[in-house]
Symmetry: C2
Subunit: 337 residues, 2 copies
């Protein structure tokens, strides 16, 4: 592997001990890989709960260069042991399925509330200097009152997962405010790319649509498919985490949206995807009442705060990102189907 180019914030990680919770997952594995490239001493913590995003294949190419612990973040003793000496925790472990949060709300609460609060307590009492970057989500905004949605937009979660993710985020920000922990939260918009879980369809529209196109199955659009969305390619999100971690000591208690321009309609997304894959088709359907009721309408994030304060901008456009993603799944789909 050739030495990567390093910017100031990236050089902060050189030889630093850092932890990535959810590090066998989609975003976590990309972040871990980049941290390894930057010379960090990376501990991956992942529960490998079936049906969640953790997948050992995600780290196959660099597994010999990281410490991997199969630890559930609900296991406070295990987590406490692993936290020793860490200078930055990228806290990506979570229950991310909105549907699962409604069928098993208690597990969602255990992971997205209780384990997060436990982490904050462990850091407060034992490791108050450890930086934390928490992976929050734009889902907590619910149905937007205005577009683009900035960080001051009211929070209105529309499912148990949203309520619990919000509480998890708030613990992080509260412990920053009250105890001075150097903690930052990123509210991620839809993120896509290689290594995302594909074997069930409960983690958002992008993996569902990609798999459908690759398998030459129809993509169903409701109500015309005119709903606006934005999406970040995964390496751009990794870059946001790296920037936030390197500056978390100065930005303690702050929250930042990620996002991308231009936003696109689900129809435009589907057409682009079908063109890239060369397979698939769109089917239009009426809104089923149970889906219509939870639909959030249009969404587009205002990410000017993270641009202003951390210099972050997305660099991989949708077409290029989708092309790379499709290529990956054409080659490695058997590890994800």
């Amino acid at each position: 592997m050739s030495e990567p180019t390093r910017t100031d914030y990236e050089s902060w990680y050189y030889q630093r001990p850092v932890m990535v919770t959810g590090g066998l997952g989609f975003i976590g594995s990309h972040l871990s890989e980049r941290l390894v490239e930057l010379g960090a001493s990376v501990t991956i913590v992942d529960s490998l709960i079936p049906e969640y995003g953790g997948n050992e294949f995600n780290v196959e190419s660099f597994a010999d260069r990281v410490r991997i612990s199969i630890t559930d973040i609900r296991d406070r003793h295990g987590l406490g042991y692993l936290l020793k000496g860490q200078e930055c925790v990228f806290n990506l472990a979570g229950q991310v399925s909105h549907i699962d949060s409604m069928t098993d709300p208690e597990t969602d609460l255990e992971i997205n509330c209780r384990a997060q609060l436990g982490l904050m307590e462990a850091l407060r009492h034992v490791h108050p200097g450890t930086r934390v970057v928490y992976a929050s989500t734009r889902q907590i905004y619910g149905r937007p009152n205005y577009l683009p949605v900035d960080e001051r937009h009211p929070i209105h979660p529309t499912d148990v997962n949203g309520i619990n993710k919000q509480a998890g985020e708030q613990y992080h920000l509260l412990y920053a405010d009250v105890y001075g922990l150097p903690t930052v939260a990123l509210r991620l918009t839809n993120t896509y790319g290689p290594r995302q879980l594909m074997h069930h369809g409960r983690q958002g529209f992008i993996p569902v649509f990609i798999r459908a196109a690759i398998e030459d199955r129809p993509i169903t659009l409701y109500g015309g498919g005119g709903q606006l969305r934005d999406a970040n390619y995964v390496t751009d999100v990794v870059d946001a985490f790296l920037r936030a971690g390197a500056r978390a000591d100065q930005l303690s208690g702050r929250v930042f949206n990620t996002g991308a321009r231009p936003a696109f309609t689900l129809r435009a997304f589907s057409e682009l995807l079908i063109a890239i894959v060369g397979k698939g088709e769109i089917i239009d359907a009426e809104w089923p009442p149970e889906k219509s009721r939870i639909d959030i309408g249009d969404f587009e994030a205002d990410y000017s705060r993270i641009t202003a304060e951390l210099g972050w901008i997305p660099t991989v456009g949708l077409e290029e990102g989708l092309r790379r993603t499709v290529e990956f799944y054409l080659e490695h789909g058997d590890h994800y189907w």
Copy 2:
């Protein structure tokens, strides 16, 4: 006991099986007593956790006319059993100390998040027609952006209790939205009156000040004592619960502030209290940094929504309310000190 006058909403409770969680506590016991007067069949559920507000003396005068179960709402089997046949649950049980939520955040989470979510699940699966009125709090608004604070004001909890109470409220409203449970939330402002816990000072300024005055100890005001607050006498809050429960089927998923006019400064409150008690004194002090940091500034609730939709208005003014409260503690203080 003579037959009380009944209004329409009060007559709804006649011979109804209803549950009051936290029914041995301050507000819960007043509510239970009134429900008994209205002819309801009342089940009180209370954990009697030491240091919380439950106190058997609170129900002494009507204990033979209610069913009392010493059950922790975290005990899902016990709670599930008691829920059978209930037509309305007044859900007041909670960990209410902001200070305790910071020293033992996990217990706060267990009671204010997990047990609330468990109650919603039990109702959804087994008793979807049971009405619920949830006791939320104005504390979740945090430091106001504007006054008076209406229900659209952004939520900004300032401690673990606020985060968890918010999540607890949101579970109630979400289960109303998604599953149609007839659930309403009241965001209570400061409530005062007889039967409030007095033996420690971790439940807000009013009991602390009242006890200080009665014991002829100084009341300490920080930064001049000019901070605005509002407060409801407990029987007015009981009335808000009764109105909400009787209409919860039509107001499912709604949230309502309580409040009172005029707001008062902490200094004016203290002076009035000292005049009523005939003892006590005010001491002025600089803000201690740790208190200054968590102070929310002025607060005054906009309660026009509950007035418009439920016809509720507060009827007991501060002077009259304080007079009754002081009288009660002069007579029964030994049960509360």
